[in-house]
Amino acid sequence: MNAGVVEPPGKMGRRRFLDYLFGTSLAALAGAVLYPILHYLVPPKVKEVTTSSVVAAKAADLPPNTGKIVAFGGKPAIVLRTPEGEVRAFTAICTHLACTVQYRPDLKHIWCACHDGHYDLHGQVLAGPPPRPLDAFKATVRGDDVIISRG
């Protein structure tokens, strides 16, 4: 500051007011910047970050001779437990016209409702119009979870 210069009272008041104004605006800016940053730092609730593996189900929710449709990498996948108890997973996109397949406990294999396509428990086509087998994923049981991953 210019030491030794005595400010007239009016100018002092104006200066202090402007300092206040500036200080307040800086505080508002700090708030406007910190608000998104703090929200950003709070982690979002997501089931998966990568598309290479996902927890498909709880092992207890998948008894033998049942199947479930789950999302995997943005696309439907089917995870099933064979009547013998083995856990397997395939893409649930039918190779005929891309309908979502389902598990039929009465038939004990995979079935597509759209045009009566049948797949066995290895994904191979048993009957119907599908031209290719279902791609298989790796399914493992880790503790309570059934995890699907790309082989």
Partner: protein, 351 residues
């Protein structure tokens, strides 16, 4: 005892404050160019902040990189904003660096005694472009993957060291996950460390020598660096902050598709705009000139031009005598026109 007195006893800052108060910034016709350095610094600081935030969620592996960026954009609150600001600020920083280069070159700020300031600035220019090049690959999308392939391929054309440089950059023969790891390390650790050193030295020297005055331009007065010039500088920064906010919100950047190394290169592949002039110039050269590959000539020409630019304080002997030689002005204007023309051509031509 006041707060100031308490601080002064422990940190001894008042010497610095006195020095800053005495530093004067000259006023003249081209005084606006004094802001170019501060603008670049501002964008760099924004990059550091947004970059650190992105680091909280980004994953540098081929499997997860793309998805982690998608997570930031779609799921993390204000993640879209952090990423958009980071990209816009990166592009604006490069623009700022080029403006600052032009201001200091034409103002001959490199002349004695500021040669080292110029050299550190040259290093910072290269580092800024390296930041852009390495950062571009990190989302691991198709465009970035192939742009990196092309870019490192051209780096491999530099004579003698080219081959080694290519393998060093790519972390192998091809662009793979190893390249991503390497670029990530370079982008978030190596380059920031080197920048801290060079930038620290650069800013220190600017303070030590004060603002350079363009040769043969009359001064119409001056103002104190602190607080007058600094306050104006901060005002410019605040306005730019508003500009970045508008751009980040209203003009988003696409994420594109995840890179598939097995897929063919997409048509219309172009490097980032700040590399475009080099890419376009190389493309326009004939395939062979005498017995040498045309591209090699182009790369050599650019290396030569870069070397001359770095050495200009030592070449421009007239400047230290406060004289302007038309050779350097003309060379500078030609270079600027060349870069602008090549960039425009590159943007307009269908690749």
């Amino acid at each position: 005892m006041s707060v100031r007195g308490w601080l002064e006893e422990r940190v001894r800052y008042q010497g610095v404050e006195t020095f800053l108060r005495h530093k004067e910034v000259p006023r003249h016709r081209f005084a606006a160019t004094y802001y170019t350095g501060g603008i670049t610094l501002f964008f760099f600081l924004v990059q550091v902040l947004t970059g650190l935030l992105l680091l909280m969620y980004y994953r540098p592996t081929a499997d997860a990189a793309f998805e982690s960026v998608r997570l930031i954009m779609a799921k993390v609150r204000f993640g879209w904003l952090v990423r958009a600001v980071h990209i816009w600020s990166a592009n604006l920083m490069v623009l700022g660096v080029f403006l600052h280069l032009g201001a200091t070159y034409f103002g001959k700020a490199y002349r004695r005694p500021r040669e080292i300031t110029w050299l550190t600035g040259g290093g910072l220019l290269v580092i800024t472009l390296a930041f852009g090049f390495t950062g571009y690959l990190l989302p691991w999308n198709t465009l970035a993957y192939f742009a990196t392939q092309v870019g490192t391929e051209i780096a491999g054309d530099v004579p003698l060291i080219g081959r080694g440089l290519l393998v060093l950059l790519r972390g192998g023969e091809n662009v793979t996950e190893a390249t991503l790891s390497r670029f990530f390390g370079i982008h978030v650790a190596i380059l920031p460390a080197v920048t801290t050193l060079l930038l620290g030295l650069h800013l220190l020297l600017v303070q030590v020598h004060g603002m350079s005055r363009p040769v043969a331009v009359p001064e119409t007065g001056s103002e104190p660096f602190y607080p007058h010039f600094i306050m104006r500088d901060v005002l410019v920064w605040v306005v730019l902050l508003g500009g970045v906010a508008v751009l980040a919100t209203l003009v988003p950047w696409e994420l594109g598709e995840k890179a598939d190394p097995l897929a063919p290169a997409p048509p219309g592949l172009k490097p980032e705009w700040y590399f475009l002039f080099m890419y376009q110039a190389l493309r326009m050269l004939p395939a062979r000139v005498l017995w040498v590959e045309g591209e090699m000539i182009g790369v050599l020409a650019f290396v030569l031009a870069g070397t001359l630019l770095i050495l200009v304080p030592f070449l421009d002997v007239w400047a230290k005598r406060e004289r302007r030689h038309h050779l350097f002005t003309v060379a500078g204007v030609v270079a600027v026109l060349f870069v602008i023309a090549m960039t425009v051509l590159g943007l307009r031509m269908e690749f």
